[in-house]
């Protein structure tokens, strides 16, 4: 009596409903020759019947599967002798219920079964069987009932096409809501965890504190280590790495975009553009070890030979490599907006006797600037959220420093370190990760909104 079997049967009923509905429509029109008297094509009557047979039944099945367990547990618990539940914490009750379920299904139980438990388990399996039967009956009744309903309503003047269209629209709306609700759910869960964090640590300390040392005591009797959650060193670290990355990516990306769109012969463009885009396809972990194993030691050597003191993990190494990673972002977005500047602008400028570089500097770049700024902002939000490279190459030390040769840490790195390893999920330490995540999310969201706004404005200008 598997649920999947039931699902297959319902699908079978749907196709049956399709043929029946179609047939009925043709018959009600007075034969295949008089289909034109139908409001819609026969196919729509078939679809209409199939949807009626399928949707209510499948909805019932989904609801049933979702709530059956909870209802059964409530029923079984109500029958347990009160003495068994007395004085148990909610967690212990949960364990007991689990044991009863395991007993019922014959799995391993964590304690010696008492007669009361055995009785409860027997009740549980009986109820489950009844529930499954009831579900089968209910679902099949809905399917057949839906089919019958559609059958009864199939008349030549019924607007089957309009009905089917609106049902399809509802289905699409439901699925897009799933995407939106998921996002909302993630945001809300991060938000609530952050609020819990801010009940323990004041937001003032978090946003303006300059000491980050998130070691809280695991046991009450442990000495020291109450934790300091001043996130400023993380923000400055993130800012420094992203700034270095943008200093690399913006000039290189922009210049290559200009070269590719304005100067490069078609032959050069045909291989240079894909090559540049390969950079975007390199997994970030590869960039990470390139930064940690190649660039960082190189910078260290270079710095030492000049008598500078360079940390083995430096903001500079992480920023440089991150910049390389972001180049294709900047270049392909900029190239798109530069290409979107109409040829008429170039012609107008050339016709006034401007040279190519004058045209680029005075007409094309200013015209494309909003779009380029939008692209750069998108790249910034990408840089801020980037994790792997900084985890591997920027270090873990929450230094508040302006020296790019020092090791720094970023918001994303700290989220990773706070949440890896065995954790209690209700300590300030782990909840700090949510607060950091929320901050990161807020910043990138704002950047993205501004960027998209700018890009949209720019697009409109040349519609």
């Amino acid at each position: 009596m598997q649920t999947s079997t039931l699902l297959i049967i319902v699908l079978g009923l749907m196709s049956l409903a399709y043929y029946v509905g179609r047939k009925r429509a043709i018959v009600s029109a007075g034969g295949a020759g008089r289909i034109s008297t139908l409001h819609s094509l026969p196919t729509y009557y078939g679809l209409y019947a199939a949807l009626w047979a399928g949707i209510p039944a499948i909805l019932l099945m989904a609801l049933w599967t979702a709530f059956q367990d909870e209802i059964l547990v409530t029923l079984v618990k109500a029958e347990l002798p009160g003495s068994m539940l007395e004085g148990l914490t909610p967690g212990a009750v949960g364990l007991l219920v689990n044991d009863i379920k395991n007993l019922a299904s014959g799995a391993i139980v964590s304690r010696v079964a008492t007669p009361e438990m055995q009785a409860a388990a027997d009740r549980f399996s009986l109820f489950s069987q009844i529930a499954v039967w009831a579900m089968w009956l209910g679902v099949l009744a809905f399917a057949v009932g839906g089919m019958a309903f559609a059958w009864a309503r199939t008349k030549p003047q019924m607007r089957a096409r309009n009905r089917v269209e609106s049902i399809f629209m509802v289905i699409l709306v439901v699925f897009s809501s799933i995407a939106i609700l998921t996002t909302l759910g993630i945001v809300l869960s991060v938000l609530f965890e952050s609020l819990r964090f801010f009940q323990e640590i004041s937001p003032l300390d978090f946003f303006f504190g300059t000491l980050w040392s998130p070691q809280t005591a695991l046991r009450a009797d442990q000495v020291g280590a109450t934790g300091a959650f001043g996130a400023v060193p993380l923000f400055t670290g993130t800012l420094m790495v992203s700034t270095i990355a943008m200093l690399v990516a913006v000039p290189i990306g922009l210049m290559s975009a200009i070269y590719l769109s304005e100067y490069a012969p078609r032959r050069v463009r045909s291989w240079a553009k894909p090559t540049l885009e390969v950079l975007a396809g390199v997994p970030t972990v590869v960039y990470g070890f390139f930064a940690a194993l190649t660039v960082a030691p190189f910078i260290r050597e270079l710095g030492m030979s000049m008598g500078l003191d360079v940390a083995s993990e430096s903001a500079l190494a992480a920023g440089l490599v991150m910049g390389v990673m972001i180049i294709p972002f900047v270049s392909s977005l900029s190239e798109d907006v530069i290409n979107a500047v109409p040829q008429a602008m170039r012609d107008g400028s050339y016709a006034l006797g401007a040279t190519q570089s004058e045209t680029i500097r005075r007409v094309i770049i200013p015209a494309a600037l909003p779009g380029i700024v939008g692209g750069v902002l998108l790249a910034v939000s990408r840089a801020i959220g980037e994790t792997m490279i900084v985890v591997m190459a920027a270090g873990l030390a929450a230094n508040l420093t302006a020296n790019p040769l020092d090791s720094v840490t970023t918001v994303t790195v700290q989220i990773v370190t706070l949440l890896t390893g065995d954790q209690e999920f209700d300590s300030a330490k782990t909840m700090a990760a949510f607060a950091l995540g929320l901050t990161l999310f807020a910043v990138t969201l704002v950047l993205n909104v501004i960027a998209l706004q700018i890009v949209r404005k720019y697009r409109e200008q040349y519609e």
Partner: protein, 287 residues
């Protein structure tokens, strides 16, 4: 339109390579291609896009203080010929121009000549108004700035006011010079483009169907303007409208499939065309 392009490619396809190289069939232009007081002198101009020939041995003078209109069916090469006159064809990959085109006696295709200053002397107005996405002021200031024509802000202001006045736009925009040029109406934008061209004091102004994107009132204003501009400039205008050619030009050239078929006084072309193709076109039997 498609038939004419097809005809042309078929004709070119039918030519032997020897014909393409030299002894190609070329029609003799009916009428007098010269004029009394020439500013630009074109002789035996051929234009190729790759291996396709778009202009075949065209000779034509453009006189001082006159408007020459170029008419003919779509794809006959009017724009191509016009773009030879300020070397805008240089910006097209694979476009090759032979023959001689002189501006005030100087060959503009001379190896030593820089096309950049030439384009200041021979300005161009396009079919679709294409103001830069800058302020009205900056649009007109663009040319004088890149050519360093003025030494002070006051001088630049003067050039801009003068150009806008000559383009008949000053009164409409004098209070909003800092507003974007793209915010003007289509006709105003086209006059802004004319002002922008005038600002670098050209000798010749080329116009490629300057009114085809405009409404009748804006068209009438531009036509009037063209007539005024004739006092100071030589103008070559491509137009689709025979009425427009009749209204604004002194001489008219009729192009057909890359050949210049007939040139003459505008009056004569429209009342008494000598070539059968010209007559077919202006009486509406073709094109």
């Amino acid at each position: 339109m498609s038939t004419t392009v097809d005809d042309m490619s078929r004709r070119i396809g039918a030519m032997s390579s020897a014909e393409l190289a030299g002894g190609r069939e070329s029609r003799v232009t009916v009428g007098d291609v010269t004029c009394a007081n020439p500013r630009m002198v074109c002789r035996d101009v051929d234009v190729f896009y790759g291996s396709t020939q778009a202009i075949k041995g065209v000779s034509l003078d453009i006189g001082k203080n006159e408007v020459v209109s170029m008419i003919g069916p779509s794809g006959c090469g009017k724009s191509t010929f016009l773009r030879c006159l300020n070397r805008m064809n240089d910006t097209i990959d694979g476009c090759r121009v032979t023959g001689s085109i002189k501006l005030d006696g100087q060959d503009i295709y001379d190896k030593g000549l820089d096309p950049v200053p030439l384009r200041a002397q021979v300005g161009m107005v396009f079919q679709k108004p294409n103001p830069f996405p800058k302020s009205i002021y900056e649009n007109v200031a663009y040319g004088p700035r890149i050519h360093g024509l003025t030494n002070s802000k006051a001088e630049l202001d003067e050039v801009i006011e003068g150009s806008l006045q000559k383009a008949g736009l000053w009164n409409e925009v004098k209070d909003r010079l800092d507003k974007p040029g793209t915010g003007l109406s289509g006709g105003q934008q086209q006059r802004l483009c004319i002002a922008r061209t005038i600002a670098v004091s050209p000798e010749v102004i080329l116009m490629d169907e300057p009114c085809s994107a405009l409404d009748p009132i804006a068209t009438a204003i531009i036509e009037e303007l063209i007539d005024e501009l004739r006092a100071n400039y030589s103008i070559a205008i491509v137009t689709h409208s025979m009425q427009q050619a009749a209204r604004v030009s002194q001489r008219t050239a009729y192009f057909h499939l890359g050949d210049l078929i007939e040139v003459g006084e505008t009056n004569q072309i429209f009342t008494n065309p000598k070539h059968r193709l010209t007559e077919d076109y202006i009486t509406g039997r073709f094109g």
